[in-house]
């Protein structure tokens, strides 16, 4: 059982629950789910520390890119991989994500069989770009 703490920013309830479930199956039980960037800010302000951030790109309100920019400036997240998790898997979007500075890209639907390995590699500091 891993002791890593993973922040999931996702406002679609079934998808948020799915990610948490998949992480739990993969052995990661310490997860925090936020429905918005501001909620994530709150956790960081309160002193929470994370080892990995899984960030949905299409949130209602603030976009994933805006959140990324702010999270990058947060000293509490220095050196922490931030990964785009999105159903938007067109080449333009993937290129945009790479340019914005994401450390990984996981396309939806997530691959049940590959997911534990993908998270493991990301925590090991590897760039993981698997849109499909």
């Amino acid at each position: 059982m891993s002791t890593k703490t993973i922040l999931v920013v996702e406002d679609d309830v079934p998808n948020a629950m799915l990610i948490v479930t998949l992480l739990r199956i993969s052995g990661f039980r310490q997860t925090i789910v936020c429905a918005s960037g501001h909620e994530a800010d709150q956790y960081l302000e309160d002193g929470s520390r994370f080892d990995l951030v899984l960030l949905d790109l299409q949130l209602r309100g603030e976009s994933g890119y805006q959140i990324l920019t702010r999270l990058r400036q947060n000293p509490g997240l220095t050196g922490i991989p931030i990964v785009a998790v999105t159903a938007q898997v067109m080449p333009d979007e993937i290129a945009h994500a790479a340019q914005a500075g994401f450390d990984g890209f996981l396309g939806k639907p997530l691959n049940f069989d590959h997911f534990p390995d993908q998270i493991g590699r990301l925590l090991a500091g590897e760039r993981v770009w698997e849109p499909r």
């Binding site: 679609d12 799915l18 479930t21 998949l22 159903a87 898997v89 067109m90 939806k108 639907p109 049940f112």
Partner: protein, 631 residues
């Protein structure tokens, strides 16, 4: 050309003067030494005054005035009582415009036909005639009561008859044989001057006509409005030939009709009467024979008596010439007059010349019209093209917009479907795998159905995305030198899952000399997987063989099955989007209908081709080629 009339007149004048002086010298030299004193006196008298006659006649261009001068001179210097002179009109063959000096003759014929009376006879026979006893000569015609003798002389120059001169005296001796010789010579002199006058007048007329003609010719060269010019030509014809009217008939295309196109001296209503047909009347005959024709009397001329509309229009004489442009007949040009008139060769030539210009004008008009027509057609074509181009541009704009909307729609659809599918596919898997508690076999089976359906839906979405990308030209291959063998092996191992349950035999035949190919391995794997899954889908028994052969310039990969086959007429449909061959079995099989079109396009993007050979109930072989690397 402007100077020539002056020069011509000057030359004619000088020639006349020289001739006159020569004749004067002739009289002076020949006669003073011969004959009686009285005769000598008369001769001398004549000789002294002949210069006066010459000076009078030399500048005269009007034959009638000239004759008047000559008669007065004769009356004054030849001591004759009466001088009568007629002019000869070659057009009518008549003696006309009599001049009488020395008295007044009532009842003198104003016109005399050749051979009529003594004047006519002298003119016809062209020989002089002496009448010693006037009272015994009934053919003399009107004269004075006191006249005893008369001497008639034809006025002839070279072979041209110009008139008749008659000297009459009250004394018999005044017209004796010696004097007759002198008078003959004077008559010759007068005739010479008359000839000169006629020529001078003709030349002046010709020059005037020529000037007129020049004007027409010049206008012709730059005038596009041919009908205006035709009007000018008919007016010129009427004016130059001094006729009552002129008309130009146009030959109607593909018919034997001639219709008035321009006229002068008549109303449009009258002109409308003058239409004709080939051979119908004089105009029709000219059009048919393509030769000029003329008649002095339309009523009596057999060719026209019963047919000519000109008679109805009150015309009597007619001259018609064909209007020809090289060998092509455009119509006829006619001049007509209500008087009895004999048109001359010269007039015919003149009308011919005008007709040739009318022909050019008509030819130009036809060219111009066809040019106009061509221009209109060209303009129509151009405007059609402009419209077509505009439509094409609009269509293109609409197509681009439609494409943009489609791409946007496909992207949105992809996103909107993936999000719920993420939950559907993965939660069913989570539950089916027992992560959410124990479930029974049937529940596992049902959840597997849900999961597979979700996967199928995902495959469909991915295919649509690929197709949209290809169509938008955004599908980029990531080509690198790759071996085919591991790709095929990988696909075969996946396909085993599809064929094992049916008991199909999977075979692989690789040619030994296949080099590395520059390909996008991911896409080629996608193509092969598609072909193999199709083959597995439509094959109930037998097997599937994947074959790789090397050709000169490419490598051909084929997937052969022993399945249901495809009818020949259905083969092209295989590559159509969203198309599954209609058939009971095909209908029962799931498929997006996009696999084959996408596979074909991937192959084409690689520079290869895909084709199908198939026989119903025997099997299908699908081939695709991949070009060998250049190096």
């Amino acid at each position: 050309m402007q100077d020539s009339p002056v020069i011509f007149i000057a030359l004619a004048g000088i020639a006349g003067l020289i001739l006159g002086l020569f004749l004067a010298g002739h009289f002076r030299g020949k006669h003073p030494g011969s004959g009686t004193i009285s005769e000598k006196a008369t001769s001398l008298h004549l000789a002294l005054h002949i210069d006066d006659l010459v000076l009078h006649l030399v500048r005269e261009t009007d034959a009638h005035v000239l004759l008047q001068h000559a008669a007065e001179w004769l009356h004054q210097f030849c001591k004759v009582t009466l001088v009568v002179a007629y002019q000869y009109d070659p057009a009518t063959h008549e003696l006309i415009n009599p001049v009488v000096v020395g008295g007044t003759l009532t009842g003198l014929a104003q016109r005399l036909r050749l051979g009529y009376g003594l004047y006519g006879e002298v003119a016809q026979t062209r020989s002089a005639s002496y009448v010693g006893q006037v009272l015994r000569e009934p053919r003399l015609g009107a004269t004075l009561k006191t006249i005893q003798t008369a001497y008639f002389m034809p006025l002839i120059h070279d072979v041209t008859l110009l008139g008749v001169l008659c000297l009459q005296t009250e004394e018999p001796s005044a017209l004796n044989a010696d004097r007759q010789v002198e008078y003959n010579q004077i008559a010759g002199l007068i005739a010479a001057f008359m000839m000169m006058a006629v020529r001078l007048k003709n030349s002046q007329q010709t020059i005037t006509k020529f000037d007129r003609f020049q004007g027409i010719a010049q206008r012709l060269s730059y005038r596009l409005d041919s009908y205006q010019l035709l009007q000018e030509i008919v007016e010129a014809a009427r004016e130059m030939l001094d006729t009552q009217m002129s008309v130009l008939l146009n030959m109607q295309p593909d018919s034997d009709e001639l219709r008035p196109i321009a006229w002068a001296g008549i109303s449009a209503e009258t002109a409308a009467l003058l239409h004709s047909r080939l051979k119908h009347d004089l105009k029709g005959i000219v059009a048919w024979a393509q030769q000029p024709a003329r008649t002095a009397n339309l009523r009596t001329d057999q060719r026209t008596a019963s047919t000519s509309q000109s008679v109805v229009a009150g015309m009597l004489s007619e001259l018609v010439v064909p209007v020809m442009y090289f060998d092509e007949l455009y119509g006829v040009l006619a001049v007509e007059t209500s008087e009895h008139r004999h048109f001359t060769d010269e007039e015919t030539n003149l009308l011919n010349a005008l007709a040739s210009h009318a022909a050019i004008a008509l030819h130009n008009a036809r060219l111009f019209e066809s040019l106009q027509q061509s221009k209109l057609e060209l303009e129509k074509t151009v405007s059609d093209l402009v419209v077509a181009r505009q439509q094409a541009e609009n269509a293109q704009v609409a197509a681009v917009e439609a494409n943009r909307l489609k791409t946007e729609f496909v992207n949105n659809m992809s996103h909107e479907l993936r999000t719920p599918l993420n939950a559907v596919i993965n939660f069913t898997r989570i539950v089916a795998d027992g992560h959410a508690g124990t479930i029974n076999e049937q529940q596992v089976q049902y959840l597997t159905f849900v999961h597979d359906s979700g996967q199928h839906l995902l495959g469909l979405i991915n295919d649509i995305l690929d197709l949209a990308k290809i169509e938008a030209g955004k599908m980029e291959l990531r080509c690198e030198p790759s071996d085919l063998e591991p790709i095929i092996r990988g696909v075969m191992s996946t396909a085993v899952g599809l064929t094992r349950s049916k008991g199909l035999i999977l075979k692989q035949e690789m040619a030994p000399d296949v080099p590395k190919l520059t390909i996008d391995a991911v896409r080629i794997r996608q193509v092969l997987l598609n072909l193999l899954s199709n083959a597995a889908k439509f094959t109930m028994q037998g097997g599937i063989t994947v074959r790789v052969e090397r050709r000169e310039r490419d490598v051909v990969v084929s997937v052969q099955d022993t399945g249901i086959g495809i009818r020949a007429e259905d083969i092209p449909k295989v590559f159509e989007e969203f198309r599954q061959i209609d058939g009971s079995l095909a209908r029962t099989e799931t498929g997006t209908g996009l696999g084959m079109p996408i596979s074909q396009r991937f192959v084409q993007l690689h520079g290869g081709e895909m084709w199908i050979e198939s026989e119903v109930n025997v099997g299908t072989t699908i081939y695709f080629s991949l070009p060998l690397s250049e190096a």
